[in-house]
């Protein structure tokens, strides 16, 4: 194939799209659906990972004191905690302050729990220097007299890690299966286009067209369908991302703090999805036309 044919072949690829517009449209619609699910699965997985690392970075633990401990005795625990090497800061958090915070957040239902009826316990909010020393530090804190328990955020982190693993696993399968589906759809479209143009292909062959010359317009057609689908689906994801993120943050406030913003994801989403669309187009188109030409005379 010659360089002088390139312009003609690209033009033919665009013409093919228009000639088979209904088939092209149907392919774009199905591909957009697949890419939307794939993109959503990837973004969910990415956000769960971010959430986990946010929790990991937050190295504050809460030390709960025994219920029967008086305020004065409770105040004495603080300096002992402070003495531990891995503790960088230690702030007293009284049960009165805690009930007030609950009241502010949840309304006056805690009115009857003021003063001596307060069911909460005094506590310390403790900042750690090194999170990897977490277990040793917790052991040391628990040995201090008057300490009842230590809040453990690692539980949430562990759960989220499991969730992330699950989301990644499911996401990977979704991406793989939908990848195959999209490949199948695009190669089927090209196969049908070729079938409808088999007469033309036979004429091309009879006048001495090489396989490369016959193949290129079809691959370009598939590439354009893939690119178009990638652009539309990434556009939809970018447009819908913030409303979905806000709704999720309304249910789980932590998501609001840790989830990626649309500004952080739009460019990568656009590039990735368009790239995947084009790649699937090229591979799908190439496979089907090569199969067809291999079978022909």
């Amino acid at each position: 194939m010659k360089f002088s044919s390139t312009g003609y072949l690209i033009k033919e690829g665009f013409k093919n799209i228009w000639s088979n517009r209904m088939m092209s449209l149907a392919s774009v619609v199905v591909l957009v659906s697949c890419l939307l699910i794939t993109g959503a699965a990837s973004l969910i997985s990415l956000n769960v990972s971010t959430l986990i690392s946010t929790i990991g970075e937050d190295n504050e633990i809460t030390v709960y004191l025994k219920y029967e401990l008086s305020d004065i005795d409770s105040m004495k625990v603080g300096p002992q905690i402070q003495k531990i090497d891995n503790v960088s800061a230690c702030e007293y958090y009284s049960k009165d302050a805690a009930i007030k915070e609950y009241e502010e957040k949840l309304g006056p239902i805690y009115d009857s729990m003021q003063g001596d009826d307060n069911p909460l316990v005094n506590a310390y909010k403790v900042q750690l220097n090194d999170l990897s020393e977490y277990k040793t530090t917790v052991k040391q804190i628990k040995k201090i007299n008057g300490v009842e328990s230590v809040s453990d955020r690692s539980d949430i982190a562990r759960k989220l890690t499991k969730l992330n693993y699950f989301v990644t696993l499911v996401g990977s399968w979704v991406v793989l299966i939908l990848g195959i589906v999209t490949l199948f759809i695009i190669s089927n479209t090209i196969k049908m286009t070729m079938y409808s143009r088999r007469y033309e292909i036979s004429i091309m062959k009879s006048v001495g067209a090489t396989n490369a010359f016959i193949r290129i317009p079809f691959v370009i057609e598939a590439m354009i369908i893939g690119l178009l689908s990638g652009l539309i689906s990434s556009g939809l994801i970018i447009a819908l991302y913030n409303p979905i993120r806000d709704s999720a943050a309304g249910i789980v406030p932590l998501i609001g703090q840790s989830a990626l913003t649309v500004e952080q994801i739009w460019l990568n989403t656009l590039l990735m999805m368009s790239g995947v669309g084009v790649l699937i187009g090229i591979v799908g188109g190439f496979i089907s036309i090569s199969k067809y030409l291999k079978g022909g005379k």
Partner: protein, 260 residues
């Protein structure tokens, strides 16, 4: 130019379409291939175009050994021949100009050269001024002339016409045949497959009868168009295609050289 030696073709279903055929067709010959349907005429053409591969024997066409030719080289073999089909095989969505230009685009000729050459060939077949029309807007005879123009446009060494007059009325058939004779007079080998004996009697030349997969007769029919069998000197005549044609041919040769 065309050399067949002990060629047989047996299809996978067991049909023996050609049986031990040996034949030579020289440059510049005008050959009719006649025979009833199912005699093996189409298989003979398919072997020449390498649409099918012979089961046994040796075939050489325009320097290509068709028993050894690689699949990727087949397009280059086909560029040395122009094919005219009974059903014209024009692309309906393309206008006449593009239908002819298409054959040159396939071989990568620059657009400027295509423009010049296509106009010249369309004028040659009497279709000047009809470039913009679609195939369904012209008559059957004109459609066959477009097919002829397409076959001629790359200046092939051989023109193979498979029942070129099968779908057109007798008057137009004579026109097409006269054009083929004219093309032949200018040096191009012409092979016409037909079952119309009137045309054979009228135009003459070398006549090969194929019957039940065998060549049963190989004779020369003398007419006003073909007075004597071709001699080697006659076959060296060249069809004047103009300067741009030479450029197109050179391009094709160059591409083949690049490929190699």
């Amino acid at each position: 130019m065309i050399h067949l030696e002990n060629v047989s073709k047996i299809y996978p279903n067991g049909t023996e379409a050609l049986k031990n055929i040996s034949i030579d067709i020289e440059n510049g010959e005008f050959v009719f291939i006649v025979g009833s349907s199912g005699a093996g005429k189409s298989t003979f053409l398919k072997l020449l175009m390498r649409e099918e591969k012979a089961t046994f024997g040796k075939i050489k066409v325009n320097g290509h050994d068709l028993m050894k030719i690689k699949k990727r080289r087949i397009p280059y073999l086909r560029r040395t021949m122009g094919i005219v089909f009974q059903d014209f095989r024009l692309i309906s969505k393309m206008n006449i100009y593009d239908n002819v230009a298409f054959a040159m685009r396939v071989v990568g000729t620059p657009e400027k050269a295509i423009k010049k050459r296509v106009r010249y060939v369309l004028e040659l077949v009497g279709l000047k001024g009809k470039e913009k029309r679609k195939p369904n807007e012209i008559s059957g005879g004109e459609q066959q002339r477009v097919a002829l123009a397409r076959a001629l446009v790359n200046q092939p060494e051989i023109i193979i016409a498979d029942e070129p007059t099968g779908n057109i009325d007798p008057e137009r058939s004579y026109e097409i045949m006269k054009m083929l004779v004219e093309i032949n007079k200018r040096g191009t080998t012409v092979i016409v497959v037909t079952h119309e004996h009137d045309l054979v009697e009228e135009f003459g030349g070398r006549v090969l009868h194929i019957n039940d997969g065998e060549i049963t007769e190989d004779k020369f029919v003398k007419t006003k168009y073909h007075e004597a069998p071709i001699s080697l000197n006659d076959s060296e005549l060249e069809f004047d295609f103009g300067d741009d044609q030479t450029a197109a041919e050179n391009d094709t040769n160059k591409e083949e050289a690049e490929e190699e």
